[in-house]
């Protein structure tokens, strides 16, 4: 198969011509985040679990007494570990777990969704009802039950959340494919005698790639939020690993310090991981919105 270079280039040019300042800022933020995640050990000033001071919640810029000459740029956590370093490693864990979840959810969700759209009839009805049933449970509850019973390892976390997410992807993929499958060019391929594989990968997929890419962005942000929420509840990423949601949970006491000493700098220790989560998810969302708008694609409405 030839790579449609010219087409990609023209699409890119089209996209670039509609850049807005917001999108540029979001893209820069994401680029920085990706760099940080990739080169975490090089960027983090100290180790993930290294205790720099004996005090809980050292203020920003104070010196690490347990390790002379060290500075806690963004302050220390409840064990006296460097918040900045924990943030860098935490982002790495959270984002890579979220990415793994999204990839797995998409692989599963689109494959089954496309199949359901292609086969129709009873198989589709059964699959759709199963998915409806799964969606009707609060997803956090399912995750809590599964993780509690199977233990909170990365594998269990990723597979559980990916399965939950795959139900949403299934719906989107199925709805998108349904709109394509009734087109005459699909009928033309079928009357030629093409198999299901060709119809799905060559005829349907290229026509739904745009909306699917956008959906991927949205799913990715949900995965970040979901993982963070689980970690905050203590059932996600386990210590000593760092994770953005876990960091909020660990340092929630800092908020008490902030009110007791009437000093907002303590609050920042707890809030900084939350700010990281917010920055990444908002950036991804804004980019997705811009992508949808400038390509004229849209996600199915009924979901």
């Amino acid at each position: 198969m030839t790579v449609p270079v010219a087409e990609l280039r023209s699409l890119l040019r089209e996209l670039l011509s509609e850049l807005t300042p917001t999108v540029v800022i979001c893209a820069l933020i994401l680029a920085c985040v990706i760099l940080v995640v990739l080169f975490a050990p090089l960027i983090a000033p100290y180790g993930e679990g290294e205790i720099l001071t004996n005090d809980s919640f050292a203020l920003q810029g104070s010196e690490g007494k347990a390790r002379p000459g060290s500075t806690l740029l963004l302050g220390g956590d409840f064990l006296g570990r460097d918040i900045l370093s924990r943030l860098v490693y935490g982002a790495r864990v959270t984002l890579s777990v979220a990415l793994a979840i999204s990839l797995l959810a998409f692989l599963l969700g689109t494959t089954v969704g496309f199949l359901a759209a292609a086969i129709r009839g009873r198989a589709d009805a059964v699959l759709s009802r199963i998915v409806d049933a799964l969606i009707s449970f609060p997803s956090i509850m399912i995750a809590l039950i599964v993780v509690t019973s199977l233990g909170s390892t990365f594998t269990v976390l990723i597979i559980t959340v990916a399965l939950i997410d795959a139900t949403r992807v299934f719906r989107v993929a199925r709805a998108l494919a349904m709109n394509i499958i009734v087109q005459d060019y699909i009928e033309a391929a079928r009357v030629r005698g093409e198999g299901l594989g060709w119809v799905m990968w060559q005829e349907v997929l290229p026509n739904v790639l745009g909306p699917l890419a956008a959906e991927f962005g949205i799913r990715f942000t949900y995965a970040i939020l979901f993982i963070s929420a689980l970690s905050f509840l203590g059932l996600g990423v386990q210590p000593p690993h760092s994770d953005l949601g876990l960091m909020v949970k660990e340092n929630i006491q800092a908020l008490l310090y902030a009110s007791a000493y009437d000093d907002l700098r303590y609050a920042l220790i707890c809030i900084s991981p939350a700010l990281c989560i917010a920055t990444v998810t908002i950036s991804v969302n804004l980019i997705v919105d811009w992508f949808l708008k400038s390509t004229g694609a849209s996600l199915p409405e009924e979901l």
Partner: protein, 556 residues
């Protein structure tokens, strides 16, 4: 000279192609309408006819701007009106009937509620007055059960009725000007004439002026007093209908006339049905559809075909004609294997074809190709022409990349397109070019038979004419057989050697083109024949009696 109701002077409209770039799409168009007269705007798609008609309401579609000229209705300078004034003036002074009534009605509300909406929201009538007015309009438009029809929902009436109801909606405030945008194009031929008659009567009785937009000169000739011929946003010719039709001064107008949907003047020269060739020594028909009964739903619950039998011969064309719902498309689907049959069989070269695509051999699939009606949805928008045409070559013949490229060039040449089109996407082609690609895709399989399902119906008359010519040439050269499905008898008469007339899933008349087209006709064929307009301005008035008789006979 009577007073001019509408005067359009030097109207210019431009479209925003890119940011800050304006491309003119209507260039200095001027015309005028006297009270009670009808002006027709005629031209191919892209000629600007709809744009002009919308500009008469002071409206430009998104992405378009009226860049110059003036529109004067009575004493109102339409283009100088403010936003609110324009809104007041639309619907009461000018009203609009769109091409697809089905898409213009809200499916969730009853019809009368939508018909009387304009006078109610503008506080022009009380609800009771508006209802009475609506019912009297239904009477004038010859709608069945005028008292009750308004209580139905849009899906409960037929397409032709809905189009008339939309005219009632447009006329309820007694507008001075009525704009009809291709109001009959989406309708069946027999219905088209009835709607046309209703419109003509209404305009005459109400003494309303109208703009009639169409691409079909034969239709326009029936209703218009003046005709304005447009091409690429430029006026080609403008004058009284009689003069345009009988003494056109421009080549383009003559081209439109020769492509109009009218019966060919002379019967096509009959060709012997059987060509003697080496492969076809036995002289049996290529394709035999033998007593096929088929339908939709579980176990063919809703029958669309009742024991239909037809034959197609090598190098010849069988025309299948019928209105929507006649089962003609179902027949094509059964032949191609897209649908199974309940009874009967389809034989190709004497060998029965399996019921479904999955159980047909690749050689059988290759022999019967299907050309779809709408080329713009039959070609994958994400595939280049190279891939669209290359895939069947690889699929059926296992050709190498190099052979495929070579063959694509040849095929593009066959359908009279340049070879650099291979690198394009379907959206970068015009409607006619896309239809050629659609045909070319069928040809790549080197089939024995092509099922052409209304392949010219969505095209402008001139483009359709070119496609028909191409079909004939290909047949001469490749000896391919066509099953040509259409609702338009004039098109079928130009291409077919044999004709099967279908109605409600049955074949009502079947024979050679000459037999079908020479009297005596079957009652239904007579109705179809009487629905094909002549290129005369008085034709519509003369046919009423003939059609009324035919309609009663066909219904009985």
């Amino acid at each position: 000279m009577a007073d001019k109701l509408l005067e359009v002077r030097d109207l210019c409209v431009a479209a925003h192609v890119q940011k800050n770039v304006l491309t003119p799409i209507v260039k200095k168009v001027s015309f005028s309408i006297e009270t009670g007269k009808v002006v027709a705007l005629i031209g191919e798609s892209g000629s600007g006819k709809t744009t002009i008609s919308l500009a008469c309401m002071g409206y430009a579609r998104p992405g378009c701007t009226i860049t110059g000229g003036g529109v004067k209705l009575d004493d109102i300078e339409v283009l100088k009106l403010g936003f609110l004034e324009r809104r007041r003036f639309r619907g009461t002074d000018v009203s609009y009937v769109a091409q697809s009534a089905a898409a213009s009605f809200n499916a969730a509300l009853t019809i009368t509620r939508q018909v009387i909406e304009t006078p109610l929201i503008k506080n022009l009538m009380s609800a009771n007055e508006a209802m009475e007015k609506a019912v009297s309009l239904y009477h004038e438009l010859d709608l069945p059960e005028p008292e009750a029809i308004g209580r139905r929902y849009p899906h409960q009436v037929s397409g032709g009725q809905l189009q008339r109801l939309m005219a009632a909606m447009a006329m309820i405030c007694d507008p001075k000007l009525l704009i009809l945008d291709e109001p009959t194009t989406a309708l069946d031929v027999t219905t088209q004439i009835e709607v046309l008659q209703a419109f003509k009567k209404l305009i005459r009785d109400k003494h309303t002026s109208a703009i009639y937009v169409s691409h079909d000169l034969a239709v326009v000739a029936q209703v218009a007093d003046d005709i304005l011929v447009l091409k690429d946003g430029v006026m080609i010719e403008y004058g009284p209908a009689e003069q345009i039709i009988n003494e056109p001064s421009q080549d383009y107008t003559r081209e439109l006339i020769s492509a109009a949907h009218i019966m060919p003047k002379s019967m096509p020269k009959p060709r012997p049905l059987i060509i003697q060739t080496a492969q076809n020594a036995t002289a049996q028909p290529l394709l035999v559809v033998d007593g096929v009964t088929a339908g939709y739903g579980q176990n063919h619950q809703y029958l669309a075909l009742h024991s239909v039998s037809v034959e197609a011969h090598v190098g010849r064309t069988i025309g299948i004609i019928g209105e929507s719902g006649s089962g003609k498309t179902t027949l094509g689907r059964v032949i191609s294997g897209l649908m199974g049959s309940k009874q009967g069989e389809v034989r190709l070269d004497g060998i029965p074809l399996a019921d479904s695509i999955a159980r047909r051999s690749r050689a059988e699939l290759r022999s019967v190709q299907f050309a779809f009606q709408m080329a713009d949805v039959a070609l994958n928008p994400r595939h280049r022409i190279r891939k669209i045409l290359g895939r069947p070559l690889k699929f059926y013949f296992n050709m190498s990349e190099g052979e495929v490229g070579h063959r694509i060039d040849e095929i593009l040449d066959t359908v009279e397109l340049p070879s650099y089109f291979a690198n394009r996407f379907p959206r970068e082609l015009s409607g006619g070019e896309r239809q050629r690609i659609n045909l070319a895709r069928s040809l790549t399989a080197e089939p024995k038979l092509i099922i052409c399902d209304e392949i010219t119906s969505a095209l402008d008359t001139i483009v359709a004419e070119a496609i028909l010519k191409l079909l004939r040439e290909l047949q001469e050269r490749l000896k391919v057989a066509y099953v040509f499905i259409s609702h338009d008898l004039s098109t079928i008469a130009k291409v077919a050697d044999t004709i099967a007339v279908m109605r409600r899933g049955k074949i009502v008349e079947y024979g050679s083109t000459v037999e079908i087209l020479t009297p005596p006709h079957h009652r239904y064929t007579e109705l179809l024949l009487s629905s094909v307009p002549d290129l005369r301005t008085d034709w519509l008035d003369t046919i009423e009696t003939r059609r009324a008789a035919a309609r009663i006979a066909a219904a009985g």
